[in-house]
Symmetry: C2
Subunit: 104 residues, 2 copies
């Protein structure tokens, strides 16, 4: 919540802005239809197995697993294991960082 009239300050802020870097990385991950679909899915089903996710988004289980890995790497999904199956969910604040940068 600082004043923002000085362009020098703005330039410096752009250099080491950690939130911005994280936002870019997260957007990079969902900048792929498959992974965005997974997020979209998980907003309507609180949790889903890898097999179900793969079936719903129309890809292979392997690809879904790889995609979920990358979504987890940027803290956008979480998982819980029950017997053989692993259930994935949207992280509580999956989009918070993005929204706080591009939202109103």
């Amino acid at each position: 919540m600082s004043m923002r009239s000085n362009t020098q300050l703005l330039k410096q802020e752009l250099q080491n802005n950690k939130a911005l870097e994280l936002c870019a990385r997260q957007c990079g991950v969902i900048g792929d239809a498959t992974k965005l679909k997974i997020c979209y899915l998980l907003r309507y089903h609180s949790e889903l197995s890898v097999t179900n996710i793969a079936e719903l988004v129309g890809t292979t289980v392997s690809n879904a697993s790889h995609s979920l890995n990358k979504l987890r790497a940027v803290n956008m999904v979480t998982s819980r294991k029950d017997a053989q199956t692993v259930y994935y969910s949207l992280a509580n604040n999956a989009f918070d960082n993005i929204i706080s940068l591009i939202g109103n």
Copy 2:
């Protein structure tokens, strides 16, 4: 605003969802720190020249121009030319599509 309990319907919706595809493309573009910085800049300066943008985000004019081109290709920035210099602005609804998909 339709009911969404049937997973078959959800699967079909995921297949040809134009808004989702656009969202993925836009996220892909700002999934790069340079281009995200440009958007961030343009929220505080209503319009800026390519040279100024390049200086502020810390890159070359050529790279800024390429980046602005891609941002415009997905309707996130607009431009207006005045003599030699081209002024870029954020599009009115630059983030609307993204927000409507991932926002609350």
